[in-house]
């Protein structure tokens, strides 16, 4: 066990999987000579050479399609998108080809590929580059969607994603690359579809994932000062979704707040809120609350930018609403 940053944990996962399996390759903009826009791939070109770590032209549709073709042909590519905002250029490849190939070929072709990069708002990036796009990808059957919140989960889930025979969208966050945490060395694989209770509590269940997990934990600490004991469930993967852990928690606490940095309309968060409302109906003492990004393009003004995102205050307030406190 050592304390490393999120980016180092992801790098360790890539490094270990590339060393373990020659079919694992990395491609994307600036992943090689520049060592990655966020330095996740630092040193990998030097170690594995240009045949396995490939700098691509600035064409998401092109190199995403190349990656999908390579996966169908037998490799296990990891495609780095400099940010998920650029993945919009590659949507047709991901949704029409990667998500559908296994189904439409009757299982003859599988697409073992990982698309990874930072997702969600960071700071001062403007409306076009501050988007949380998981709800788009999670919408489509055939895609797995993974969103870790800690360096250890980042490493374990990335290794599991690379080994998975299906296309996996692996969501990181620009604001998380520098976060430190203890990470097991060597073989540490976190299976997809298993949520993790990051903080046990008895009064309310906060369901979240990715970057807002930290915020939820800080909100839980603030609530503890007021005698409210919040449980924080980190989903870790959205597809497949570990519904059982969520329901078991809500059945213990009778109250649920979903925190999701997506915009609220038809989102991962609104879907989970519906699932809980339906499947825990008789155990709910209050309607399920959703703390999401606001339903606006991200403002550039920093005050408004922060106001448009979930916050500790919004989570605390939602928890008090479901507790009638």
């Amino acid at each position: 066990m050592s304390t490393v940053t999120f980016r180092e944990a992801l790098r360790a996962a890539l490094d270990e999987e590339m060393a373990r399996d020659d079919s694992v390759i990395l491609l994307g903009e600036e992943v090689g000579q520049y060592n990655g826009a966020y330095k996740v791939s630092q040193g990998l070109l030097e170690k594995y050479g240009p045949e396995r770590v490939m700098d691509t032209p600035i064409s998401e549709e092109g190199f995403t399609g190349i990656g999908i073709g390579a996966a169908i042909a037998g490799l296990r590519p990891v495609v780095e998108w400099m940010t998920f905002n650029f993945s919009l250029q590659a949507m047709d490849q991901v949704i029409s080809n990667a998500a559908k190939m296994r189904y439409m070929s009757g299982g003859q072709f599988s697409v073992p590929i990982v698309f990874r990069g930072p997702n969600g708002p960071a700071e001062f990036l403007g409306a076009q580059h501050s988007q949380a796009l998981q709800s788009l990808f999670a919408h489509f059957p055939g895609l797995k969607v993974v969103a870790p919140s800690t360096p250890a989960d980042g490493k374990g889930l990335l290794k599991a994603s690379i080994r998975d025979d299906n296309p996996v969208l692996f969501l990181e966050s620009e604001m998380m690359y520098g976060l430190k945490g203890e990470v097991p060395e060597g073989e540490h694989v976190v299976p997809l579809g298993v949520a993790d209770i990051k903080r046990p509590g008895k009064d309310v269940t906060i369901v979240t994932y990715s970057k807002p997990v930290r915020m939820a934990l800080e909100a839980a600490e603030a609530l503890a000062g007021e005698g409210i004991d919040a449980e924080v469930v980190d989903l870790r993967s959205l597809r497949p979704l570990d519904e059982r852990t969520v329901y078991d928690s809500v059945m213990r606490t009778n109250r649920c707040v979903v925190v999701d940095e997506s915009m609220p309309f038809a989102s991962v968060g609104s879907h989970i809120a519906w699932l809980v409302s339906r499947n825990c109906f008789d155990d709910l003492d209050a309607s399920v609350e959703l703390v999401s990004g606001e339903d606006v393009p991200m403002p550039y003004n920093h005050g408004l930018e922060l106001a448009a995102q979930p916050s500790i205050e919004k989570i605390v307030s939602a928890v008090k609403r479901v507790l009638y406190a």
Binding site: N254, F281, D282, D283, L284, D285, A286, Y324
Partner: protein, 407 residues
């Protein structure tokens, strides 16, 4: 003007009814007093007699469906009348129907609920969890004050309420909700079992029980029974003797024949004695009225008719409600003695064990006598220990020497 036919309370404790069978179909003519349908209440299947006349225009509740008391189950009117307005209304607010009014039965079971809290439309706002908890506690949500938004009843409101039974009720520990373990079979619970669970818990948790036991010599009574039955085609049962003699004892100890009614006592003029009769899944207590003034043969005839119909599920609510005293006899099951839970609105119940030959010391000699142990459960709110003891002593004396009942 088409008229809604509402589900009515066909038993004193009925809150919802299940429609067992429609005896009229849409288009049939309905006269006042006609049986519209059969409704399964918490205790029995009852005929629903119409107080309306006209044509059955629409059946709203299909067979097998459940409706709360006060919900519409059908529409009656003139043929061809427009019922769209009624259909658009949806479920009606709960109210007492004017159909076939039943005589209210005295005692807490039928006493009015505390002031209701509900929204103007009669709909009660409650969280799903609060609704479920109220159900397991036997609480009527209308009696719970909601503290959530717009008066919504939430978990804390239900938890702060005493269990059903009134202001004196102790807070009942909330029933733990168990998750079935491996191999556990989840069995559905009948309406009757729910009523038994609710009413007996209510009794046990609200009435402070205490118990008095006495061994009774039965030789004289059994000899008298043998003499009485000689030549009779249908033998008079020991239970009929017990009921008759309890009736006499209750007449002399009216306090035992009373009901707790919140701030007052109701002292009943007649000894209406229930006998616990077991059914395949549950039990029912048919009541023989005025046992203190009826002969044993009359009591026996009434009792055997009631027991027979109880086992067939054919008792009318008036025939099993309102016992002022109850007898539970497990002697035939080989039980020597036991304690029973008081059956409201009564305030005492007699638990009767088996008659056995026993060695007894009489005049410093050991003799063999037929003896039976009876245990009286008393509600201490009404019957203090000395009062209960005096009643039981006199009852035992009468059982040992039945002639005393005539004295």
């Amino acid at each position: 003007m088409p008229e809604k036919i509402l589900m009515i309370a066909l038993s004193p404790t009925m809150e919802t009814g299940t429609l067992a069978r429609w005896r009229k179909k849409e288009g049939d003519t309905v006269a006042s007093g006609d049986v519209l349908c059969e409704v399964e209440t918490d205790k029995a299947t009852m005929d629903y007699e119409s107080s309306s006349e006209g044509t059955l225009l629409k059946i709203l509740l299909p067979e097998g469906g459940q409706a709360k008391v006060g919900d519409p189950i059908a529409i009656v009117g003139k043929p061809g009348e427009d019922i769209a307005a009624i259909l658009a209304e949806g479920p009606a607010k709960a109210s007492v129907s004017k159909a076939a009014p039943l005589k209210p039965v005295a005692g807490p079971a039928a006493s009015a609920a505390p002031a209701a809290h509900s929204s103007p439309g009669g709909r009660i706002k409650a969280s799903p969890l609060a609704r479920r908890l109220a159900g397991t506690k036997g609480l009527d949500l209308r009696t719970v004050k909601g503290t959530g938004p717009e008066g919504r009843v939430v978990k804390r409101d239900v938890e702060s309420m005493p269990a059903a039974g009134g202001a004196q009720a102790a807070v009942r520990p909330s029933a733990p909700l168990l998750k079935p373990g491996p191999g556990d079979e989840v069995l559905p619970v009948s309406r009757m079992r729910q009523v038994i669970a609710r009413r007996l818990s209510e009794s046990m948790y609200t009435a402070p029980h205490y118990y008095l036991t006495v061994a009774v010599g039965m030789d004289e009574l059994l000899a008298a029974r043998t003499r009485l039955n000689a030549g009779r085609e249908k033998k008079i049962s020991v239970n009929a003797f017990l009921m008759a003699i309890c009736g006499h004892a209750l007449a002399r100890h009216p306090r035992v024949n009373s009901s707790w009614n919140g701030e007052t006592l109701l002292q009943h003029p007649t000894a209406d004695i229930g006998l616990a009769v077991s059914l395949p899944d549950g039990l029912i207590t048919p009541v023989v009225r005025d046992c203190g003034r009826k002969g044993i043969a009359v009591i026996d005839a009434e009792l055997s008719d009631l027991v027979e119909r109880a086992r067939a599920g054919k008792l009318a609510p008036a025939e099993y409600a309102g016992a002022t005293f109850t007898i539970s006899n497990l002697g035939a099951a080989g039980i020597d003695e036991f304690t029973a839970i008081i059956n409201p609105p009564g305030s005492a119940i007699l638990a009767v064990g088996a008659v056995r030959k026993e060695p007894v010391v009489e005049n410093d000699a050991v003799v063999i006598r037929q003896r039976m142990r009876v245990t009286l459960s008393c509600d201490h709110r009404i019957i203090d220990g000395a009062v209960g003891a005096a009643f039981l002593r006199e009852l035992a004396d009468m059982l040992e020497n039945p002639l005393l009942a005539l004295a």
